[in-house]
Point group: C2
Chain length 361, copies 2
């Protein structure tokens, strides 16, 4: 399909792997860059990428061989499913394509009334919410990047369906979809899966994006993400993939090496309003991006997080849903947690070039 092929990816090339010895050209001086949404500053410190201990990542390899509660035939070993796309088979039996179940070790529970209370000067509420697992394929042996395009489309439909269902619960303000791929990125089971957490509060990072993008909107009368899309798509320096519907870019001030965002090109604040053509194209873009990361970085562990507007908020002209993909390459995440200040050894322009050069796989 012509429209899906990014204009600047001319032909697949031999894979070019990224490691500490890959020359990056003359390293520019360290630079501080500001995230235009949250206002955080990031150090882009290319000198540090020379250290041999950097990027000593663990490739994710499916080992198999152990009992897996997510495999077909073991449906009764998990909590009963809340959604499954099936070929006419009975619930909690084999014959599904994508299966969504409550997390066996839930961080939050659906039961009970949401109560807020004080504890002296402190504030708490009971842990009302939902914590579900999206089993992304019946096939244990495939990683997310190896799934067929149609399969990824089904996963995206499952996200949409679960969003629309959970949205009916007015106690829940936010639905967070995310994937931990590989043990180093927090996955405790290797069978490909993602998770959703439905929360009675809006996560802080999302709230800051909403507040920051509102400030930008108040000042410019434009959406900051739309501006990013316009500025970056022209220059192509940070663009990885571009289609009619989406752009995948390494953001100007990334916190992590090879951090990449997927943005819909047309302004939409809520993911769950995405129409079928958009989800179809998104499946292609996600698959292509993950395969590029797998090739360039040798199957790295990674996380991705779907950032979308709070479910009960009306359409927001300033907020723009998107997906943030973060390969886990550096062990250095120590003081960053505590300071909110990030040191990134790889300029996004270099990362984007490596990912573009990986070709369409």
């Amino acid at each position: 399909m012509r429209s899906r092929v990014p204009f600047f990816v001319r032909r697949p090339r031999a894979p070019r792997r990224y490691n500490a010895n890959t020359p990056l050209g003359k390293p520019p001086l360290p630079e501080l860059r500001k995230d235009p949404i949250t206002g955080s500053w990031v150090i882009i410190a290319t000198d540090r990428s020379r250290r041999p201990s950097d990027f000593s990542r663990e490739s994710v390899v499916i080992k198999g061989g152990r009992f897996c509660p997510f495999c077909p035939g073991n449906e009764l070993k998990t909590p009963p499913e809340v959604l499954a796309y099936r070929n006419g088979s009975a619930p909690n039996q084999p014959g599904w394509n994508v299966r969504v179940i409550p997390n066996k070790f839930p961080a939050l529970r659906v039961e009970g009334t949401l109560t807020r209370e004080g504890e002296g000067m402190y504030d708490k509420m009971n842990g009302v919410g939902a914590h579900e697992v999206v089993i992304e394929s019946p096939d244990h042996s495939l990683t997310f990047g190896e799934l067929p395009e149609k399969q990824i489309e089904s996963i995206l439909w499952a996200f949409r369906d679960r969003s629309l269902d959970l949205k009916r619960d007015t106690r829940l303000k936010y639905i967070l979809f995310f994937k931990n791929h590989g043990e180093a990125a927090g996955a405790s089971l290797e069978h490909s899966h993602s998770q959703l957490i439905a929360l009675p509060v809006v996560p802080r990072q999302v709230q800051e994006e909403i507040d920051g993008s509102r400030r930008y909107f108040d000042f410019k009368e434009r959406c900051v993400y739309c501006d990013m899309e316009r500025q970056d798509s022209g220059a192509a320096r940070r663009v990885v993939i571009e289609t009619d519907h989406f752009i995948a870019v390494c953001p100007y001030a990334p916190r992590f090496p090879f951090e990449t965002w997927i943005l819909p090109r047309r302004h939409v604040s809520h993911f769950e309003t995405a129409e079928p053509a958009l989800l179809e194209n998104l499946a292609w873009v996600m698959r292509t991006l993950i395969r590029k990361l797998d090739r360039t970085l040798e199957n790295p562990p990674y996380n991705w997080i779907l950032h979308t507007a709070p479910v009960h908020e009306p359409y927001m002209p300033h907020y723009h849903w998107h997906i943030e993909v973060i390969p886990k390459l550096t062990k250095v995440a120590g003081f960053e947690w505590g300071s909110g200040f990030y040191l990134n050894p790889t300029p996004p322009e270099e990362a984007a070039k490596f990912l573009r050069d990986a070709g369409l796989i």
Copy 2:
């Protein structure tokens, strides 16, 4: 010294180690708790601590045997020192107690004028700042927790001296002191050291603490940290160590298991104004806390970060310097980065009890 002994630690007990099988009593239902400073919500989800993969940490062990640029005799293998406490020996020679050097792979450089500029819609500045390493002891074989109390006091003096020196550079707004202990927490060399990064901007987490504590102050006309100190010191449920000058507490809404903060009991916004008696007592508290963590969690990797007011700001009635200590116990740090939303499997009341029970070591 009587005044240093927390009133509720009656006598040293046999070490009680914390692992996934340690019974925590009946797990309470998951609870959402709000950090009173930043307003972030955290899930305290005790159910999840049952998972066997949790807390499969790597104990930090000093291996030695390799060439170490921080060891005495190798002074010329590092950039020339900017500070050293010596017994009359010449600079960059053996005979020091604590030695501060520029980082060989600096994230920021001291040279040049600070220039801010735009890049289309984006903002950047050149990476002016300082990045230094504090070599905490000439002895390669000792971890921070094994250092004598006087040695830790010298390290704190080095922090203070470097702060006062760097403060003279008006380009620098913030001085961040932190320690990465163990490879899993981001340390690339095992010889005990901490780092400072002097920045032309205030790190986001600190700025949010300053803003949040100002909101609290505007509303209550009291410092939120002083309120924490008052509320928690009475109840003792989250207190780990209490002396005349400091309190070490597991905060009400910790992001990580066994996260512990050390707060001066008297309100002070800037660390570098601490008087000698305070630093002396702080050395004892830090050493005791780290030794308790080492015993309870089997020498875990950890980070600590000194949070203090921006150097050029005048005294702040709402902000209170403190140290945040975060053992690195869980691999799950995936979606947390992206959402700013934390799942913590260990209630701080339980963590504090384990640390209190470790005794005074």
